[in-house]
């Protein structure tokens, strides 16, 4: 909220009073006794004769608020401070004011949550209304004359603020919200400069909400945003309001932890310091932090984040608004994985000596050794695996390097040995994440969005709440935190639906906007082609893919997957790793190390000493996602890039630079020296990857594919993500994530 704007609004009527009517007020400044405030109605009428609208300068809506008219006939006109605005029917007074460019102070109102109307901060004056009205809960009516800066409105806000501050502790100097606190800002702008409160303040016992959210419940102003978030968005009935009157407090009904994968968002929506981040507590002040707008890589959603750093340290991660992907929420894994960036880091190139111990060497020596070994093996014995956190540039460089060495055995982990990379529709979320909101029936095949992509799950939940959409789920028993029908555990059920024998088929076929989501965990199955063609049969029968609606989706698991398949990281032969002599692991920690033959030379390039380093012969330290600029494509085909927030650690280098340098030492110089040049190379392979912040939908649908003749096996689908909190090398190094998985995962 623009504080300067608020302050100027609060100041304006006062200055008018001083100048025109009673200049002596300058000398005798009392707090409350202004003649206007004593008799607000009459003076308001005097001070504000409705000026002709032509005189008013055009105003810009607050925070770029857009007006969307679902039906042009329903437009009504209201007057905000005499300025006419056209808004659709059903908007509240507060929204009308935002469209008119007037920011109304509020605590309980949040545009993505239901309306509570209990903080009373948004009081405005409406003509012919006897009392000030709470604008967030009042629907705007045609011809309504709303006044936001009259003495009545101002006095009302001042009074509300005085009541809110009555029981609010004066501990801003030790409060973590200090500096980004709505109550602090608004009391500066709208509050009185002194209070009349002399009694003791009430105090509330703090609640234990788990390892992520710290509570100081005395600071709570009972806006109930967190309660509404938990029940509406996160879908857990953990938080609630207990007691009434001054005994009112927020709490878990019984002593329990908040077990939502979105619980960190209550930290952001809390307007005061009642709910703050536990790992961030007392670590830094928000004005010391440098924000870098970046992308999350811990899952395939690509949530927009801001990395807040102080000096060389990442201090916290907060969400950034992106309506298409994560709205304004992020998952706990995204928010709290950052302490993993400081632990278990690889900071020097190392070579394993003859005695089996690692020795720190210079880049020069490490590159020379690797280049020499790479030339000694046969081209088809060279294998490269890109990890789940790799950016598009480094995967492009790795593929080019291996191709120049004569090998084409390169893939990205998690995509299986025989991925379908020919048609983008075969591995992308074709409906798009925002498009899921239109759906009315979901069929989840072997995917648990709650742990695989928490933001997609939040979107599905939103749809289920808004449209009463039905959800059918095939896979192992799980809790998706919305109502769903558990249809079965394996391909058996899928076949039944495909043969129209299952009752869910009619639900799917009768739906206006049916959506099928297939989990990327199925890529690893032997019979994946058959499963996918079965799903396509269902899609065809139930008219899931139509010219105006594509409801056939694949939900990917890792940040690197979509870009890897776009770049064509497809292995030539399925079992190349068993016969490999030279394995290049680019951050691949979930590769099956037992499959690599004992005499193979393994190069590990990555940022964390996680799993694969123990098998490596040479270690190249690389930059983590917070330290480099890299393109990532999310599961719906939305290309975005990370930006470096902090410098790299030790002697580490960016991933693509390592491969570029290695190629030169090996005598097959790759033709790009800069990020721009390598992006130009990517443009020739997959132009959609360099169209940043843009979703490129797949053009052809999967119907062009030949039918598979594989035999379907009836083994049930498995859990793909065992532990939501620890899925990659960064989160596995994080202490906070370890704590979470110990306390919060269901046993």
């Amino acid at each position: 909220m623009g504080l300067g704007l608020l302050a100027s609004k609060a100041m304006r009527p006062a200055s008018r009073i001083f100048n025109s009517q009673n200049p002596r007020n300058f000398l005798f400044r009392t707090i409350v006794s202004k003649p206007e405030l004593q008799k607000p109605e009459t003076s308001a009428a005097q001070a504000q004769p409705d000026p002709p609208p032509v005189d008013l300068p055009p105003r810009t809506p607050v925070a770029g608020a857009r007006v969307h008219f679902p039906n042009p006939d329903d437009a009504i006109e209201v007057f905000v401070d005499g300025y006419p605005v056209k808004i659709p029917k059903g908007m509240t007074v507060l929204q009308a004011c935002e469209v008119a460019g007037v920011d109304i102070p509020r605590f309980c109102y949040h545009s993505r949550l239901s309306i509570a109307g209990n903080c009373r901060m948004c009081l405005v004056e409406v003509e012919k209304s006897p009392k000030p009205v709470a604008s967030c809960a009042m629907p705007a009516l045609p011809g309504m004359k709303i006044k936001t800066d009259t003495p009545v409105a101002k006095k009302a806000r001042e009074g509300v603020m005085e009541f809110l501050l009555m029981n609010h502790p004066l501990d801003c100097p030790i409060c973590d919200q200090g500096g980004e606190c709505d109550l602090q800002d608004q009391s500066m702008a709208f509050g009185s400069d002194r209070g009349r409160f002399t009694e003791m303040k009430r105090s509330v016992v703090d609640k234990n909400l788990g390892p992520l959210v710290k509570t100081v419940m005395t600071r709570c102003i009972q806006c109930t945003r967190c309660v509404r978030f938990a029940t509406e968005v996160a879908g857990v009935q953990d938080l609630g309001m207990l007691g009434r009157g001054s005994g009112e407090e927020i709490g878990t009904y019984v002593e329990k932890l908040m077990t939502s994968e979105l619980s960190g968002n209550v930290i952001d929506i809390c307007p005061v310091g009642a709910l703050t981040s536990k790992p961030f507590a007392f670590k830094a002040r928000n004005w010391e932090l440098k924000g870098t707008e970046s992308i999350d890589v811990t899952d395939a959603v690509g949530s927009n984040i801001r990395i807040d750093s102080r000096g060389p340290e990442v201090m916290r991660i907060v969400p950034r608004l992106n309506e298409d992907i994560n709205e304004e929420w992020i998952s706990d894994k995204t928010r709290f994985c950052y302490d993993g960036l400081k632990r278990q880091r690889l900071n020097d190139p190392m070579i394993r000596g003859a005695d089996g111990r690692f020795k720190v060497v210079s880049w020069r020596d490490a590159l020379a050794v690797v280049a020499e070994v790479a030339h000694q093996v046969k081209p088809e014995e060279i294998v490269g695996v890109a990890g789940k956190l790799s950016d598009a540039e480094s995967m492009m460089a790795l593929k080019d390097f291996l191709n120049r060495m004569g090998s084409n055995n390169i893939w990205c982990e998690g995509t299986g040995m025989n991925p379908n990379a020919d048609l983008r529709s075969g591995y992308l979320m074709n409906t798009s994440i925002a498009g899921l909101e239109k759906a009315d029936v979901f069929l989840l095949v072997g995917t648990q969005p709650r742990v695989e992509a928490a933001m997609v799950n939040a979107r599905i939940r939103k749809t289920v709440r808004a449209n009463q959409a039905k959800v059918g789920y095939i896979g192992p028993e799980t809790d998706l935190n919305y109502d769903h029908q558990h249809l079965g555990t394996g391909p058996q059920t899928l076949l039944e639906i495909a043969e129209r024998r299952h009752p869910f088929y009619s639900t799917l076929a009768n739906a206006k906007h049916p959506v099928i989501i297939v989990g990327a965990g199925l890529f690893e199955r032997e019979d994946k082609d058959t499963i996918f063609s079965t799903v396509e049969t269902i899609a065809e029968n139930a008219k899931v893919v139509r010219p105006d609606w594509n409801g056939l989706n694949v939900l990917l698991l890792n940040a690197a997957q979509a870009a890897a398949l776009d770049l064509g990281l497809v292995p030539e032969s399925g079992n190349s790793i068993e016969s490999a002599k030279f394995v290049y692991l680019m951050g691949a920690d979930d590769v099956n190390l037992d499959k690599i033959p004992g005499d193979a030379f393994v190069v590990y390039q990555g940022h964390h000493g996680d799993r694969s380093v123990y098998r490596a012969n040479v270690i190249f330290p690389a930059a983590a996602f917070s330290e480099k600029e890299g393109i990532y494509e999310n599961t719906e085909g939305y290309a975005q890039q990370t930006f470096p927030a902090v410098p790299t650690v030790g002697d580490a280098r960016d991933d693509w630079k390592i491969i570029r340098a290695l190629s030169e030492v090996a005598g097959i110089k790759l033709p790009y020296d800069s990020l721009g040049a390598i992006r130009a190379r990517i443009r020739t392979v997959a132009p959609n990857l360099v169209h940043l912040d843009e979703r490129e939908p797949a053009t052809f649908t999967a119907s062009l594919k030949p039918a598979s003749s594989q035999k379907i096996t009836l083994t049930p689908f498995e859990n793909v993500v065992e532990n939501f909190y620890m899925t990659d090398s960064i989160t596995r190094a994080s202490k906070i994530m370890a704590q979470c998985s110990a306390l919060l995962t269901k046993k």
Binding site: A652, R653, A661, E664, K669, D673
Partner: protein, 132 residues
């Protein structure tokens, strides 16, 4: 750095190698004598000892041991005195001293290895740092 210019007087040219050599030894002694002060003002007690710094200085001298032209020696002497003066006057910061004389002795010596000939600028930069 006006104080530097003020206090580093340009000595008259050495007439022969013998005089230049004499001056070099004088300068070495004065540098060594300033070391306790340097340790104190830069707070180096926990990272280096006086003898380490002394050998670091000696290395700098030996690096140019092959120079026999008195004029060149005078020039090097002047640069050395300037450097010493900057150090003693606290014109540097702690990390300068640590970086140049305590840890990165090889960082001062320009790496003119024959291995690097014929490699691209990219690789040369790559060996130096990640940021280029």
């Amino acid at each position: 750095m006006s104080f530097t210019l003020r206090s580093v007087k340009v000595p008259p040219n050495s007439v022969n190698l013998e005089e230049a050599r004499h001056r070099v030894f004088d300068f070495f002694r004065s540098a060594c004598r300033s070391l306790p002060t340097v340790m104190e003002i830069y707070n180096l007690h926990d990272v280096a000892t006086i003898s380490q710094l002394r050998s670091a200085i000696a290395t700098q001298f030996r690096k140019n041991s092959s120079v026999t032209n008195p004029k060149v020696i005078d020039m090097l002497l002047f640069k050395g005195m300037e450097e010493l003066n900057n150090v003693v006057e606290h014109a540097k910061q702690r990390h300068h001293i640590i970086g140049q004389y305590v840890v990165g002795r090889q960082g001062l010596v320009q790496d003119l290895d024959t291995k690097d000939q014929g490699i691209s600028n990219f690789l040369k930069n790559f060996y130096n740092s990640n940021y280029f």
